[in-house]
């Protein structure tokens, strides 16, 4: 039986031993090369038993080369493909196939630009069983009228060989032919009367010929034909009755021709038409005749792309079966209100890439089955409340790349089954609803779309994440808000309750601040994890970002964080200048500062002393007063520490302070917890000059000679590990300094720079650590 190959692995191995040809199994195929290991083999055969298919690729100089074919019995095969082979002289192709043990294939494919001679009837002798023949060549080929006389069983014929003239008698015996593929020849006309000889012909492909002057008589007798393809024939004009003799036509392709107009009534006799394709017309066909596709009850699919500028309102009248219409890439500026009045079964409508500026409100009134509507790349500016009000089945709406600005608040109330909404690249800001209903209605015009899975609003001017996107759309999977104008986020903005692995894209907005809560104990949601991409925003990295930064860095894990995943790989600070360009993942939390006085505070009410700058640091709830390098002789009047802060840091490095104030004189000063007065002119410090809650003290580079015992006692009680810096002072190490020395010895872990403290009263300055109490105060001089 056909399809059962005699050739297998054993035969393949045997052939390689014999050495004339080389055979190798390749996956489920066998590849034979003759002669074996030749650089340019004469034959390369691929035997594919599982597909009942043999391919023979030739590289012949002479028909005598056929003697080098392998001596094998391949067994019956359904399909034989010969590529680049010479016609075998005056012997039939069947002779070659018989020598290979596969005499009766059902399909023969002979493709060669190197035929060596004219093709004749002899070549197809003894192929009586052949059902399908494909004969192609790029060389202009003469076809003799008797070529196919022996192929009475042929059902599919494909001839593509730059044929200029198809002889009428070629078809005399082809009464079983069902399919003709004559695409890509040079036919100027069809031989008259051929179709009455082929009562079973269904498929007629005549594309890429030069059939400029077709009339109905060319198709006389073609009543059985179901589809005809006439694309790319350079046709400028068709007679209105050209398809008169093909009443059973279901599909017509008239694409890539040169129509400037089409006749009225062109398909009048083709009441079984199901699909018409007229696309990529090579001339300007700016409109279609009245009722061209009217009253075609079986019509389902229409492809029209011909530079159309307008359509008649009755184009589709009465054709109620239409399911798919593509009018993409025309030049339509609007559509007649009644165009789709009869299309109650329309499922898909593509109007993308036109110049639509406006659609009549009632245009979709009768299309309640419409599922896919593509209006991409037009000039539409708004969506009215009526336009989609009957599209109760709509699932996908594409309106990207328009000029949409105004979307009526009830534009989508009927389309409750909408799943995918693409509105990117428009001018949508939704401000209109914000102004009218801001207080009462935090929802967007999409709030009735509870089945929405995709909402793409990127490249618009949205400023707010609307309530309905967060709380109502439980099936949302993609919310693209990239390239909009959102300027800040707080925890409420990201509380999406979608259960559909929501991805929110907030990249390329204007987000300056992200305020998260420290924690929300007990916060829980049954949403799935929400993925939020925050990259490429101009963050102002101030103290308000503390919890967000700490969360991103993984330092802070509030209980709500398990419901969110933030993408921040490319999120960097754009402000303040000290942090510009720093990745959020690398910011140390103590660098996050806010100015203590707001920039708007007027001069009189500023609490920060003149010449100083004051900051709030949320990381440790500290107020920072920075008066460094101010040429100040005394500590200015300091602001009181606000109650929500617990620390106060005073920086007065490199001034000219002569002494420190007492807390009574300067109530703000008495609250300082961290005092930095290195590089001043202090000569003496008393206990009442040190704030009572001090835990850090930097006294380097002053003029101190001694610290008295009371003060040392105070420091002993208040200072922490490593919290004191005392070097750079001219310590006077005599008997009075005995207490100080003992203090440094007992508290080596509190004084960071203990090793650098110098005694300056001796002839040679000496490190204090090198001295003992006996050295500075010998017993005989003891007090």
């Amino acid at each position: 039986p056909a399809g059962v190959a005699a050739f297998g692995r054993d035969e393949c191995n045997e052939m390689s031993i014999n050495m004339a040809c080389q055979c190798s199994p390749v996956m489920s195929e066998f590849e034979i090369i003759c002669p074996a290991y030749a650089e340019n083999p004469k034959f390369r055969m691929s035997i594919q038993p599982s597909r009942s298919f043999v391919q023979i690729v030739c590289n012949l100089t002479d028909t005598s080369d056929y003697k080098q074919l392998p001596k094998v019995r391949i067994g019956e095969m359904d399909i034989v493909q010969m590529q680049r082979c010479l016609l075998p002289g005056y012997t039939p192709i069947a002779g070659i196939l018989e020598n290979l043990g596969m005499p009766t294939p059902q399909m023969l494919i002979f493709e060669s630009d190197n035929l060596g001679m004219n093709v004749t009837r002899t070549h197809f002798e003894r192929l009586h069983g052949l059902k399908r023949l494909r004969f192609t060549s790029r060389r202009p080929t003469h076809i003799p009228a008797n070529l196919l006389n022996d192929l009475r069983n042929l059902s599919a014929l494909e001839l593509r060989a730059n044929i200029a003239e198809m002889p009428a008698h070629l078809f005399d015996n082809l009464e079983n032919l069902e399919s003709i593929e004559f695409g890509s020849n040079q036919l100027k006309h069809l031989p008259r009367g051929i179709f009455s000889k082929m009562p079973k012909l269904k498929h007629l492909n005549l594309w890429s010929n030069q059939l400029h002057n077709l009339t109905k008589y060319d198709f006389e007798g073609a009543t059985s034909v179901l589809d005809i393809d006439l694309h790319a024939n350079g046709i400028e004009v068709l007679p209105h009755d050209v398809f008169f003799f093909m009443p059973n036509l279901r599909e017509i392709n008239l694409s890539a021709n040169l129509f400037r107009s089409l006749p009225e009534g062109l398909f009048e006799h083709n009441t079984h038409l199901q699909q018409v394709r007229i696309s990529n017309n090579r001339a300007k066909l700016t409109t279609l005749p009245s009722r061209l596709f009217a009253n075609l009850p079986e019509l389902k699919v229409l492809f029209l792309k011909t530079d159309l500028e307008s359509l008649p309102g009755d184009l589709l009248e009465g054709s109620t079966g239409i399911t798919n219409i593509s009018l993409a890439s025309n030049r339509l500026t609007t559509l007649p209100a009644k165009l789709l009045e009869y299309q109650s079964n329309l499922l898909s409508l593509d109007l993308s890439h036109n110049q639509l500026t406006h659609l009549p409100d009632g245009i979709f009134e009768h299309n309640k089955e419409l599922k896919d509507l593509n209006l991409e790349s037009n000039y539409l500016t708004g969506i009215s409340s009526k336009l989609f009000s009957r599209l109760i089945s709509l699932e996908t709406l594409i309106m990207r790349n328009n000029r949409l600005n105004i979307i009526d608040h009830s534009a989508f109330t009927a389309t409750t089954w909408l799943r995918h909404l693409y509105l990117e690249h428009n001018n949508i800001d939704l401000q209109q609803s914000l102004l009218t209903n801001h207080v009462n209605d935090p929802n967007s015009p999409f709030s009735s779309l509870l089945n929405l899975e995709t909402l793409n609003l990127s490249h618009n001017s949205i400023m707010v994440i609307y309530y309905d996107w967060k709380i109502l759309m439980t099936k949302l999977h993609t919310l693209d808000l990239s390239y909009n104008n959102i300027s800040s986020l707080n925890f409420e903005d990201i509380q999406f309750i979608s259960r559909n692995k929501l991805e929110v894209n907030l990249t390329h907005n204007k987000i300056r601040s992200i305020h998260l809560e420290k924690d929300l104990p007990g916060y829980s949601t049954d949403s799935s994890i929400v993925n939020i991409d925050l990259n490429d925003n101009p963050l102002d990295c101030d103290c308000t970002m503390l919890y967000f930064v700490q969360l991103v860095r993984g330092v802070h894990r509030p209980s709500y964080s398990k419901y969110f995943k933030f993408q921040t790989d490319r999120l960097v600070c754009s402000k303040p200048s000290a942090l510009e360009g720093t990745s959020v993942k690398r910011i140390m939390a103590e660098k996050l500062l806010c100015p203590f006085d707001s920039p708007e505070t007027d001069m009189d009410k500023r609490m920060c002393p003149q010449g100083c700058s004051c900051w709030v640091r949320t990381f440790d709830k500290a107020l920072l007063v920075n008066c460094n390098n101010g040429n100040m002789t005394r500590v200015p009047r300091l602001p009181k520490r606000p109650q929500n802060l617990v620390r106060m840091e005073l920086h007065m490095e490199n001034n000219t302070l002569l002494n420190l104030p007492s807390g009574e004189m300067n109530p703000g000063y008495s609250e300082v917890t961290s005092l930095h007065v290195a590089g001043n002119n202090l000569t003496e410090i008393t206990t009442n000059q040190l704030p009572s809650r001090l835990d850090l003290l930097d006294l380097r580079r002053n003029h101190l000679q001694l610290l008295n015992a009371t003060l040392l006692g105070f420091l002993n009680h208040t200072m922490l590990r490593g919290s004191m810096k005392l070097s750079g002072n001219p310590w006077k190490c005599d008997c009075d300094a005995k207490q100080l020395l003992l203090f440094t010895q007992d508290n080596f872990d509190r004084i960071e720079d203990r090793g650098e403290m110098m005694c300056m009263n001796a002839e040679h300055p000496t490190r204090m650590v090198e001295l003992s109490t006996d050295d500075i105060c010998p017993a005989d001089q003891g007090v």
Partner: protein, 110 residues
């Protein structure tokens, strides 16, 4: 892909499939190297080349205006045992650029 699909599948580009035993090849680093291929140690590769590289595709008469179609050669990277032109004669694997298939692509011409 080896060979041609039978019957109803027609490709837009004609190809020449071959099995080759290359002795020299262009590595992915753009250098020519000797590939080990002797009577004892054979490295066969199946390749597929465009019959006419950059030639027009077939069956493309109704693409939109302003597009040109042509057949483009594609490549894959494959590891083959090879010997460096310089240095010790130790066979070692190296990746070579191998013609894998021929695809019809569209190019906008205006």
């Amino acid at each position: 892909r080896v060979g041609t699909e039978p019957d109803d599948t027609i490709y837009l580009c004609r190809v020449t499939p071959r099995t080759i035993y290359p002795k020299k090849g262009l590595t992915t680093n753009n250098s020519w190297e000797l590939i080990v291929n002797t009577d004892e140690f054979k490295q066969a590769i199946q390749i597929e080349e465009c019959e006419i590289p950059n030639g027009p595709c077939e069956f493309t008469d109704s693409f939109p205006n302003g597009y040109k179609s042509y057949c483009k050669q594609h490549y894959v990277t494959r590891n083959l045992v090879s010997i460096k032109d310089e240095g010790p004669l130790d066979p070692s694997p190296e990746s070579f650029r191998i013609p894998s298939c021929c695809k019809c692509v569209l190019k906008k011409v205006n």
